[in-house]
Each structure stands twice: as structure tokens, then as C-alpha cells.
């Protein structure tokens, strides 16, 4: 059912994104676009030791990509860098987005995590 993908929680994160904006002081940032959509996410990270201290993002795109960024920003906070590095895209979708995503929206759902992984590589 399509309504399960566009669940209350997804729409809420889409309309009221948590941690939206830029960090003035950050250790790394990264940006990418999802080529098929043109969805865009930029993520700013300030580390606290080996953990993610502060995280903010900006961007635009579909409900899935933006909600995924918002949800990611919530769960990533205080997480050790390693945890993000080893988090699989499939797990992120299943455990955190909690919706059924097929091939066509995979890129939307995982854009933010991809950007975050790339940002952490620059550390």
C-alpha cells in the first residue's frame, strides 16, 4: 500500500525536518545529488572525539530523501564514526526509515547516508 510508504512519520519528517540548516563550525561537510531525481543533500558534521557531535543538513527533494536525511540526523548524533561507516544501506532503510522501498526509490532513501559516509571519509 502506497500509504505505508508515505506514513505519518515520513511526512512529518519531510515537513518538519530535524537538524535542518548549516553548522557555522564544522569538521567536515559533503554534498551530493541523486542523479535520477536531482535531489540534493549537504551535511555538516562537528565531531566530539570519535563520535558525531553535531550534525545538520540542507537540501531539497522528495519526501523520502528529505525525511531520510532528517531521520539520519537524529540517529547519527552521538553515534561513533565506525557505526556510520559500517551501517548498510539496507539496514538503514529497514531499521530506521521503517518503510518498504524498492529499487526505484533506493537512491532517494539512501542519499543522506551516502553523503554522511562520504563526509566522514574526509576526516
Amino acid at each position: 500500500m502506497i500509504e505505508e510508504i508515505y506514513a505519518e512519520r515520513i511526512l512529518d519528517h519531510y515537513r518538519n525536518p530535524r537538524n535542518y540548516g548549516k553548522l557555522k563550525k564544522y569538521d567536515v561537510k559533503a554534498r551530493d545529488v541523486n542523479i535520477p531525481c536531482g535531489d540534493e543533500i549537504e551535511i555538516f558534521v562537528k565531531m566530539k572525539g570519535n563520535k558525531i557531535g553535531k550534525i545538520k543538513f540542507t537540501g531539497h527533494g522528495c519526501a523520502i530523501s528529505q525525511a531520510a536525511a532528517s531521520i539520519l540526523s537524529e540517529i547519527a548524533k552521538d553515534l561513533p564514526k565506525k557505526e556510520i561507516e559500517k551501517m548498510s544501506y539496507e539496514d538503514f532503510i529497514k531499521k530506521h526509515l521503517k518503510i518498504n522501498i524498492t529499487y526505484r526509490r533506493f537512491g532517494c532513501a539512501t542519499l543522506a547516508l551516502r553523503v554522511l559516509k562520504n563526509a566522514l571519509k574526509k576526516l
Partner: protein
């Protein structure tokens, strides 16, 4: 009037169910569906006379060559060209790149003029040519009503203009550009026309339009994927040097030099897409039987209805002309607060296929001030019921997103 029942029966894919719903295929500007006659021709080709062509003495080779050249004749007649002006390529994009690469050897300084409504395929080749050659790249604007701004276009064309690259119909806005007029007033520059969206819908007469190059894709007009057509005016085609080397384009090879074959072979390198060209011939015959005037009349009828219906949807912004005569039945839109991807995804849950995203026209997106659009595009097998389904589908999108 088209016999809709008969036409729908010609397209086997329309029987497919999507999420248990009837398929409402409204992504025709991306690619059209194929009538059974075209699919059957492919099967016949491979089961009865598949062979490599032109250099064959055996029976299969003779049959394949004849059918291949028959298709070329069909295409030539379809746009009122000579046979030797029809070059088969793999898609419209290759055709436009062929024009750019061969012209690159002819032109030096000066400028190239195009428009902001171009598909990337008729924008990037010229942009890159200008970068390589340090030429000026000039981009004409559109008007507030989404038609081409001719005034701006003409102000950008001058004596130093080497190429005008213009689309016949915009794949986002649906706007029809007056190619004949631009050809008349455009001066001496080479005139390259992207007919990807016009060839499926409008009667094209290259002699009347008086252009140098005109490219389109078979797959958007009932033909198979993998075939494009590049029309090149004979005198231009004779003057220019070939693009890809090898195969039928060759007359004689020596260690230090090569002589080219005559037109149109000079521009066709390697084994052509024989089966698909033969099947494309069948697609053209199909269009001819339907009649391009009826195709256009149907398109106008749907456009009129669609414009009326879409106007009434609250929060829907349409990007394209509101006069039927200025456009074809391609409708790009956004719904306030909902991204085009989500629109397309929810419509799909109702069996309705539309496109979403930047539609390979990022410069236009930026000009429109959006990142993406949803696009519903119609063809002859789409009727009022399909339009109705779309309107209902859009209501559902809004319901899922809880907007009104």
C-alpha cells in the same frame, strides 16, 4: 477521429496490470509503447531473414538489405527527404552529436545559438564544442507564456553565428517552435533541429522547413529502441567529413588513406541496427495508416480537455502554453508542497505512469525556478478515460499528502 478501440488493441502492453490496476501509460515523451505489428516485424526478421546487409550475395542477405533500404525509403517519404539524406544512428542524441562533431571540423570562431528549453542532448554537445573551440555559447530565453522568445533569439543571432541548434518541440513545456520562420530569418548559420518530440506528433517536411540537420528517435514513435534518424541536407552531407569509421561507410582503404562511400552510407559505420530499422519501417507505415493529421487532431483534442481539467486543480502549477495551437499534449506540473517524485510514485500505485525529475532539461528547470516537475505525456492510444484517471490520481496524491 481515431478508432480508439482498434488502436488500443494494437498495443499488447496495455493489457498489463500495474498494482492490480489498468496501465495508464502517460510517459510517451520518454518512450512510446509498440504496436503488435512492429513487434511482429522483429520476430519475422529474426525468424525468416536475419543476415548482415549490403555486402551479401546470399538470399538472406539480399532480403535483409532490401527490407533495410525499404525502411529508409519509408522514413525519407515520411519527412519529405531524399533517401540519401536519411542517416540511421542509434538515437536522436547520437544524431545531434554527429552533427556537432562533423561541424566542429568546419567552424572556428564565432558563436553558437541555442535555447533555454533544450533537452541536454541538444545543449551539451554545443556547449562542449564552444568550450573546446573558445566560441561563444548563446542561449535564447522563453516568454512568460512558455513559448520561445523569438525576439531574444534573433537578437542573439548575428553574422558570427555558425550554428543555430533548436528544438522543434520542448519535451517539458510541450511548446512548438516555428522552425520554418527561424530558418528564414536565421541567416547563414547551419541550422540543427531536434525533432525528438515533434516527429511523433507533427507532420514534418524538411524541404519546407529548410533546415540542414534534423534528428529524432524511433522509440518515441512506435519504433524499437536503438534507432535514430539524422536528416542531413544533401549538399551539407556531401561537403562534410564522416564521423565514425568502418563498415559500410568505406569505399576503399589503403595503408595511408581511405575513400568514403557515397551518401547516405558515408555516415553509417559498422553493422547497422538492421532488425530495428526494419521494424521502424513498420512503425512508420503504422503512423502513415493512422494519418499524421489524425494524430495531431487527437493530440489537440486531448490537450484541450487536459488544459481545462488541470486548471481546476488547486495547488497545481502547469509549465507550458495554455493555447492548444502552441503546444502538444505534454503536461509538466508541480503540486504545491509535494515533490514530483512522490507524485509519480503515488500515481504509479494507481497504475498511472508519468515521469518526474528534471526531464534532462536542467537549464530550463533553473529558468523555471524549480528542481523538478511531474510530466504526463499523451499519445494516440490515450483517451479521455486516461485523462480522467490522471485527474483522479492527482487527487489521491493530495490525499496521501493530506493537502488540498
Amino acid at each position: 477521429m481515431l478508432d480508439m478501440n482498434k488502436i488500443k488493441k494494437d498495443f499488447p502492453i496495455l493489457r498489463v496490470k500495474i498494482n492490480g490496476k489498468r496501465l495508464v501509460y502517460l510517459d510517451n515523451a520518454a518512450t512510446s509503447q509498440k504496436p503488435k505489428q512492429v513487434i511482429q516485424k522483429l520476430v519475422e526478421y529474426y525468424e525468416c531473414f536475419n543476415a548482415n546487409i549490403h555486402r551479401s550475395i546470399h538470399t538472406l542477405g539480399e532480403m535483409a538489405t532490401e527490407e533495410f533500404e525499404k525502411a529508409r525509403k519509408e522514413v525519407a517519404k515520411f519527412i519529405n527527404a531524399k533517401e540519401e539524406e536519411i542517416i540511421f544512428v542509434k538515437n536522436c542524441t547520437e544524431g545531434l552529436n554527429l552533427a556537432a562533431y562533423t561541424l566542429a571540423r568546419e567552424i572556428k570562431s564565432g558563436n553558437i545559438v541555442t535555447s533555454i528549453m533544450e533537452h541536454h542532448s541538444n545543449f551539451v554537445p554545443w556547449q562542449q564544442l564552444c568550450i573546446r573551440k573558445r566560441m561563444e555559447f548563446r542561449v535564447a530565453d522563453i516568454n512568460e507564456d512558455f513559448t520561445l522568445n523569438y525576439e531574444d533569439l534573433y537578437s542573439k543571432i548575428n553574422k558570427r553565428t555558425r550554428v543555430i541548434a533548436l528544438t522543434h518541440v520542448s519535451n517539458i513545456l510541450g511548446s512548438i517552435n516555428d522552425i520554418g520562420k527561424v530558418a528564414k530569418e536565421g541567416g547563414d548559420a547551419y541550422f540543427v533541429v531536434d525533432a525528438a518530440q515533434s516527429a511523433p506528433h507533427l507532420k514534418i517536411n524538411v524541404k519546407k522547413l529548410d533546415v540542414d540537420f534534423l534528428a529524432f528517435s524511433a522509440h518515441k514513435m512506435f519504433g524499437p529502441t536503438g534507432v535514430g534518424v539524422l536528416y542531413v541536407r544533401k549538399d551539407v552531407a556531401e561537403r562534410l567529413n564522416p564521423f565514425l569509421y568502418g563498415g559500410e561507410m568505406i569505399k576503399e582503404v589503403y595503408i595511408t588513406k581511405t575513400k568514403w562511400n557515397k551518401l547516405p552510407y558515408k555516415y553509417e559505420a559498422g553493422t547497422p541496427n538492421i532488425a530495428d530499422v526494419v521494424a521502424f519501417g513498420e512503425a512508420i507505415r503504422y503512423l502513415r495508416r493512422v494519418g499524421m493529421n489524425k494524430v495531431r487532431a487527437h493530440d489537440k483534442k486531448i490537450s484541450k480537455l487536459a488544459l481545462r481539467e488541470l486548471k481546476n486543480i488547486r495547488g497545481l502549477k502547469l509549465y507550458g502554453p495554455t493555447k492548444v495551437k502552441d503546444r502538444i499534449a505534454i503536461f509538466s506540473f508541480n503540486i504545491k508542497g509535494i515533490h514530483s517524485h512522490d507524485v509519480a510514485h503515488i500515481l504509479d500505485s494507481e497504475g498511472i505512469a508519468v515521469r518526474s525529475g528534471h526531464g534532462c532539461a536542467m537549464p530550463l528547470m533553473r529558468r523555471l525556478g524549480v528542481n523538478s516537475v511531474a510530466r504526463a505525456s499523451f499519445y494516440i492510444y490515450n483517451d479521455e478515460k486516461d485523462l480522467e484517471a490522471l485527474i483522479k490520481g492527482i487527487e489521491k496524491v493530495k490525499r496521501v499528502f493530506k493537502v488540498d
